[in-house]
């Protein structure tokens, strides 16, 4: 028993925790939870908690149903919304096979492995996500029009706005769980909000995003409203993205920073960006994993549709933010493709792998885009060598299927599962007869 495990056991005792939820994430990025009593905790640390993995998407197939969830004591956290007395706490788990080996279907392990590869090259990977989401009035149900909680716009201060109170409550709860919030504001859409998490190593960030989604949903529930991370819930308003700032560190030094270089960007950073661009289309089926994601991506506004980069260019897929002199360690690049419904473990593993590939292979960074790429004509874009991102889930799957980078990073098992699952989703979607079709064709055909 190590010290952290002891700490967890002691805290459970001292704070009279009655249940410990063991959290893990399925391959689609949906949080799963199994609760154990304090008495079971010690054996959970030692041997893990057995569960039937066949019930979980992508974790396993029926014939290897037995799986172990092994809690990571460094992620222990009391859940504030469960009250102070007889409280509930949670820990994230690693999923293992009964032999104690990491399960190849555990998306947290996919990210861990990718981070390990980076660490073998001397890099640590930091991420800083800006998570957007919508708040709707209850009941928010599929067969009724959605009603946003307000009609504010970007950075609007909405007097007595529900969103305002909401953000305050959510942030307080996040901070009480040890998740630092950098920034929060009202976003462009009505009822749309953004909360930025402070930068941390990618594994912590991914854990934090999973916690964040839960916290936001819980707080909304308390306030009688509904929070959604759906990529594009409202056709006429911007979708919810999860722009993520990425940086690599070598020891204490930001590897993206080089004083005096153009944009203060090191050669490493330029190759990293080149890697992101080169592989952007291949990883889109993960960063934007639902049919709905493509409605956001091709709906203009802040969502990027074309593969290019720029300095402070808000239409580019990769943006290099303005450099603040003297802040060498804050050098970073922003990847704007990811949406709020992604599986953060897989998405970050792939972004890292794409960037590292650029560094390994020494990809050349193409010229940055200075114009608003939305305004360019197709011919102009072609002349500039700017390719579009996949326009649908189907296209994204077809491109990902051919990607060695994605297969290698996810591992064959997860790769295979995602492909099958996404094809199923596409087939189900294709069978729909939409209101659009009825409205347009029924009366005339």
């Amino acid at each position: 028993m190590d010290r952290q495990q002891e700490f967890v056991l002691r805290t459970v005792e001292e704070r009279d925790i009655r249940f410990i939820r063991l959290w893990f994430t399925d391959v689609l990025g949906i949080l799963k939870s199994v609760a154990v009593a304090p008495a079971e905790l010690e054996s959970a640390f030692a041997e893990g908690i057995g569960f039937d993995g066949s019930a979980i998407e992508g974790l396993t197939r029926v014939y290897e149903a037995d799986m172990l969830a092994k809690p990571d004591p460094s992620t222990f956290q009391v859940l504030p919304w469960r009250g102070e007395t007889h409280g509930t706490a949670r820990m994230f788990c690693d999923i293992q096979t009964p032999d104690g080996e990491p399960s190849l279907a555990d998306s947290r392990y996919v990210l861990k492995r990718a981070l390990e590869r980076a660490s073998d090259k001397g890099f640590t990977f930091y991420t800083h996500p800006e998570v957007e989401f919508y708040l709707f009035e209850n009941p928010a149900e599929p067969d009724q029009p959605l009603v946003p909680v307000d009609s504010g716009g970007y950075f609007d201060h909405v007097p007595r706005g529900t969103g305002h109170d909401f953000r305050r409550a959510a942030i307080t709860m996040l901070e009480s769980m040890g998740i630092s919030v950098e920034f929060s504001h009202h976003e462009a859409g009505p009822g749309q909000n953004e909360i930025d998490l402070r930068y941390a190593d990618a594994l912590t960030t991914a854990d934090n995003i999973m916690t964040f989604r839960t916290v936001v949903k819980e707080v909304a529930l308390e306030q009688g409203i509904y929070a959604s991370f759906m990529p594009k819930p409202l056709a006429d308003h911007p979708g919810s993205g999860m722009h993520t700032h990425l940086s690599l560190f070598e020891g204490d030094r930001n590897a993206f920073h080089e004083p005096g270089a153009p944009l203060e960007l090191s050669a490493t950073a330029r190759k990293f960006i080149a890697g992101l661009l080169h592989h952007a289309a291949e990883i889109t089926a993960i960063t934007n994993q639902y049919v709905n994601s493509y409605k956001r991506m091709w709906g203009g506004a802040e969502a990027p549709s074309y593969i290019c980069w720029g300095h402070n260019n808000r239409s580019a897929l990769v943006r290099v933010p303005m450099y603040k002199p003297g802040k060498g360690n804050s050098s970073r690049v922003e990847y704007r493709g990811v949406d709020s419904a992604t599986n953060p473990y897989l998405a970050y593993a792939l972004l890292l792998a794409a960037g590292l590939k650029g560094i390994e292979e020494g990809y050349e960074l193409p010229d940055g885009a200075e114009d608003d790429v939305w305004e360019l004509t197709d011919a102009e874009r072609r002349a500039l060598g700017i390719q579009p991102l996949p326009s649908s889930l189907e296209q994204a799957i077809a491109i990902m299927e051919k990607s060695e980078l994605v297969a290698e990073t996810l591992g064959e098992h997860v790769f295979d599962f995602v492909l099958r699952n996404k094809r199923e989703e596409w087939n189900a979607y294709r069978q729909q007869v939409t209101p659009f079709e009825l409205k347009r064709f029924l009366s005339v055909l």
Partner: protein, 1018 residues
């Protein structure tokens, strides 16, 4: 010595005397004795006792030369120095000081240079100094040299910069001189060795402290914002340092109260950097040694200094097993003791629970391999430190034992190798005698290393090669006769002993007390024995202990030999994929064979045979079973020629001999089957030992099947020929499928077609009936249950399948194929190869089917469509339920049949135009297709890779499980341990089970993409 004044004779006499005294260049020595400066100090030297004293040095020549230089330097340094050295050289009462001086000058040119540079430092040799000077005295002395006080908690140098650095190094060297002198004059250097190594470690600690004081002096606040501790690792931490080696350290710091952590760590980093420079950068005084902080968390990429908490977090979350092993040596050596103590207190529990970590067994095996393997080839013969039997090997053995047993026994946790070894012996974990012998080996290796390093104060672990260097080395460790050869011989013996002792220390105590070879042996308590077995990879230690007891108990000759053998075998089993299975199989084999006179003798006398046997038994259940069934096969293990595959001609000759001398048909068939069993075992053993590839294995298996089929047909025909009707028809067997392609696996059936051709004038129905009887007889001779393994002869590929007649005449085949043949039959015939019976008939059969399988102009669109459809249907229907298509080696995605069908489609289309394509072998046809440009080289490589890997894995599944059939035989297992075993059979290092799975899935995926394009496309 004569005094008759003849200079020639005089010199000659002197030279003789010098030679006798041990000078190697008496001419030069004689002229040095004439040196005016030396004479000015020491007077005439011919016949003087001083010369005899000089001759006691490790190298008298070096000592004399150095003394001459020292005389010149002392004379140049003024009257006082001159008088002092003169007194030291001449006064009878100062023999001790003289001996120390001579010993140093004769063993170390570097220290001699130092004395020449600073003749006044000769004074440190004036009095004998006890080797184990109090660490506080030494610390105070070196600190005083830089103007700092040993009484301060955080001393700050008042002599800064280069001046301070030089003063520190000078003080260090004066101490080093004392240690070296005491070491070199000792009559028992091996006994003194631990004390010398401890004194060197303490001196290094004092130097680090002084260097830190110098570093503090360079900071504006004298580094007050931070409490920095220097933790010694490696030999420094173990208080067993060399004369010159990297001093391994780790820095840990805490901010002083009221100071910001970031700022404090930045300051500590500056301190650490300056500290290292003070020890190792160039300056007027030579550098001491490099300060190496690479053992810190994240190695060279990690921050140089961390807080205690940050260290703890790293070790809890990221550290690898070897890092915990390294921590075993951690000891506070300089700087803030409180912070240092907090660090060691926090991390020690993790060291002692490291053995519970996942992958401990695999990690420690990998570490062991690194110890043994990481020797540059050019140095392999000269390495004292690395390689099998080197110092690292001893240290590793001791540390592993500490990690395994230190969890429950605090008495064996010393970071010092010799102390730990003694404690392990006292605690009953290793045999006392063996421990003592290992300690002697270690001391000798270290003493050699010390002497080699002392010579030029260089960091080296290589035995010298020059004659003079070896001679000096020999003399310096007390080997006065035999010189260079003797020391090398001694060292080689030690190296062999270390390896042997490792096994005795590690595995011998696992044997029960009743199996002790001598009273000095120990037998571990059951709890400790289980811990040790578990730590080296036995999953069922209790069961293993039972087997060990059963194998070693009793008074039989067998038990006696096994008591000798078992310790080393236990280690070899543990290197295999399944140690438990290996031990169990060995016990079974021993029960079977133990009384056979040659078996144990072979194992005892042939290290190669024993090692191979252990490898086979712990890696392949199939081979273990095969050896149990044909124990005589064990004898092959000693002979490479016996493990080489037998070619077809040799096997055919043997079968011929068997059939010629055997009259009883069933008896003859049994002998044939035994021959095949033997070849299966031989092929399997060779494949497990990595002595054959998948294609050569398939070729041997095919050759055995070919010979057996031919033999069975011959027996059947023989019976008929001697029956009432005599032989009415010519018979031939055509190999199909994998047999036709010479691609048999261990569990493959023999797919065949039977064809006959009635002799002229014979009644056709009677001939047909006889041919059927012969075919059935062949099948029963090979397929009936009997003492030897069966070969299923499967004729289902015949026209009309099971509904058709078992045999057809050549004419009937011709008729059938002309009228009815379907695409799948053309495809199956691609593999047809005559294998037994009438050669002419076989050739005519081939001529008959050639137009079918290689149609002129290529197979038409209809045929291609049918073949594709058939394959698509097969994919949907033939795959067993519940099996993941990606994992089915034969029918799955990118599996054997994917590749084979793709190749066969190319053969059907282009076989007529390209002669190379007309081969029953998949790989040959694939290569020909690539050569003809019918498939791109890249695609062909992908397909080839997938086919080879699937075939190897299919073989490996059989070899690992020992089962040749069943649903599981064609499926890549999910079980991690099975995957690990397959990985070992594929020649990968331990712990590669996940890689095998990943590699197979990837290879299959890529191959499938090619199949989609080449087979289903256009």
């Amino acid at each position: 010595m004569t005094a008759d004044g003849d200079p020639g004779r005089r010199t000659g006499g002197l030279r003789t005397q010098l030679t006798r005294l041990g000078f190697t260049d008496p001419g030069r020595a004689a002229s040095l004795l004439e040196d005016p400066d030396l004479r000015a100090l020491a007077g005439p030297l011919e016949g003087a006792t001083l010369v005899e004293e000089i001759a006691t040095a490790a190298s008298p020549d070096d000592a004399l030369l150095a003394l001459t230089r020292l005389a010149t330097a002392a004379i140049g340094a003024g009257e006082a120095r001159r008088a002092e050295l003169r007194a030291l050289l001449l006064e009878p009462g100062r023999a001790g000081a003289r001996a120390r001086l001579v010993a140093v000058l004769g063993a170390s040119t570097a220290l001699a240079d130092h004395l020449v540079r600073h003749p006044e430092d000769v004074d440190v040799l004036a009095e004998p100094s006890p080797i184990g000077a109090d660490v506080r005295t030494v610390r105070a002395e070196i600190l005083a040299a830089v103007g700092a006080s040993g009484d301060d908690a955080a001393p700050v140098a008042t002599r800064g910069g280069q001046d301070g650095t030089d003063a520190m190094r000078r003080a260090y060297r004066r101490r080093l001189l004392m240690i070296a002198a005491a070491d070199l004059v000792s009559s028992e250097p091996l006994t003194l060795l631990p004390a010398v190594a401890a004194a060197l470690a303490d001196l290094a600690g004092a130097a680090l402290e002084a260097a830190l004081a110098l570093a503090r002096a360079e900071q504006d606040d004298h580094g007050r914002c931070v409490h920095l501790a220097v933790i010694g690792m490696g030999k420094c931490g173990g208080r067993e340092l060399n004369y010159v080696s990297d001093v391994d350290v780790v820095y840990v710091a805490e901010p002083a109260p009221g100071h910001d952590e970031q700022e404090a760590l930045a300051c500590a980093t500056r301190l650490a950097t300056t500290l290292a420079k003070a020890c190792s950068s160039a300056s007027a005084e030579p550098a001491l040694w490099p300060v190496d902080a690479a053992l810190r968390p994240e190695g060279k990429n990690g921050p140089l200094v961390r807080t205690v908490a940050s260290h703890v977090t790293y070790y809890e979350r990221w550290a690898k097993t070897w890092e915990f092993q390294a921590l075993l040596k951690a000891r506070v050596v300089a700087g803030d003791t409180e912070v240092g103590r907090a660090y060691t207190d926090a991390l020690a529990p993790m060291v002692w629970s490291a053995v519970e970590r996942e992958n401990f067994v695999e990690d420690s095996q990998a570490m062991r391999r690194r110890v043994e393997d990481h020797v540059p080839a050019a140095e392999a013969d000269r390495q004292l430190k690395l390689g099998v039997g080197g110092l690292r090997d001893v240290e590793f053995t001791v540390q592993l034992l500490q990690l395994v047993h230190g969890r429950s026994d605090e008495s064996i946790r010393s970071p010092n190798t010799l102390t730990a070894l003694a404690a392990l012996s006292a605690g009953g974990y290793v045999g006392r005698d063996h421990a003592a012998r290992l300690a002697v080996c270690y001391r000798l290796l270290r003493a050699l290393e010390h002497r080699i390093q002392l010579h030029r104060l260089r960091r080296t672990h290589l035995m010298p090669t020059a004659e003079a260097d070896l001679r000096r080395l020999a003399r310096s460790v007390g080997i006065r006769t035999g010189g260079a050869d003797a020391v090398v011989e001694r060292w080689r013996t030690v190296r062999r002993d270390v390896r042997h002792l490792h096994e005795e220390l590690f595995y011998r105590p696992l044997l029960p007390a009743t199996a002790s070879l001598s009273a000095e042996d120990v037998s571990l308590a059951p709890e400790a024995a289980r811990a040790r077995l578990a730590a080296i990879g036995y999953r069922d230690p209790a069961g293993a202990l039972r087997h060990i007891a059963a194998l070693t108990e009793g008074l039989s000759r067998r038990a006696a030999i096994q008591r000798q053998l078992l310790p080393v075998l236990l280690g070899w089993f543990a290197e295999g994929a399944d140690a438990d299975a290996g031990l169990l199989a060995f016990r079974r084999l021993s029960d079977e064979l133990g009384t056979t006179h040659w078996y144990l003798k072979l194992l005892r006398d042939s290290g190669v045979a024993a090692h191979r046997l252990a490898q086979l038994l712990s890696t392949s259940r199939y081979v273990a079973d095969a050896l149990a069934r044909s124990p005589e096969s064990v004898a092959w293990l000693d002979d490479d020629a016996e493990l080489a595959p037998r070619d077809h001609a040799r096997l055919a000759a043997e079968a011929d001999a068997v059939l010629t001398r055997q009259d009883d048909p069933v008896g003859a068939a049994t002998l044939l089957r035994a021959l095949r069993r033997r070849e299966l075992a031989r092929t399997a053993a060779a494949e497990v030992l990595g002595r054959s590839s998948v294609t050569t294995a398939a070729a041997s298996l095919t050759a055995a099947a070919d010979v057996v089929l031919a033999g069975a047909l011959r027996i059947a025909e023989y019976e008929v020929r001697h029956g009432p009707d005599g032989l009415l028809t010519r018979n031939a067997v055509i190999a199909m499928g994998r047999l036709g392609g010479r691609e048999l696996g261990y569990g493959s059936d023999a797919d065949v077609l039977f064809v006959h051709d009635p002799l002229p004038g014979v009644d056709e129905p009677a001939a047909q009936a006889q041919a059927v009887a012969i075919a059935m007889r062949v099948r029963s001779l090979l397929g009936d249950v009997g003492p030897e393994p069966t070969l299923e002869v499967d004729a289902d590929l015949r026209p009309e399948g099971r509904n058709g007649p078992l045999v057809r005449s050549l004419a009937a085949y011709g008729e059938y194929y002309q009228r009815w043949s379907s695409p799948w039959e053309s495809q199956a015939l691609l593999r047809a190869r005559p294998v037994a019976g009438d050669t002419g008939l076989g050739e005519r059969f081939v001529a008959l089917v050639d137009p079918l399988r290689y149609p002129p102009g290529g197979a038409d669109a209809h045929v291609l469509k049918e073949v594709r459809r058939l394959k698509a249907r097969m994919e949907a229907e033939r795959l067993p339920r519940g099996v993941d298509p990606a994992r089915h080696l034969k029918l799955g995605r990118g599996g054997l049949s994917d590749v084979e069908w793709t190749v066969q489609l190319l053969q059907l289309r282009h076989g007529h135009d390209h002669a190379g394509l007309r081969s029953p072998s998949t790989l040959e046809a694939l290569d020909a297709a690539a050569a003809a440009g019918l498939v791109s080289a890249e695609d062909a490589a992908t397909l080839r890779e997938a086919w080879v890997l699937s075939s190897r894995l299919r073989d490996a599944v059989v070899l690992w499980t020992g089962r040749v059939g069943g649903a599981a035989a064609d499926v890549l297992p999910h079980d991690r341990r099975a995957l690990g075993g397959l990985a070992r059979l594929l020649g990968l290092p331990p712990g590669s089970g996940g890689d095998v799975e990943e590699t197979y899935l990837r290879t299959g995926r890529r191959a499938r993409a090619v199949v989609e394009r080449v087979f289903y496309g256009d």
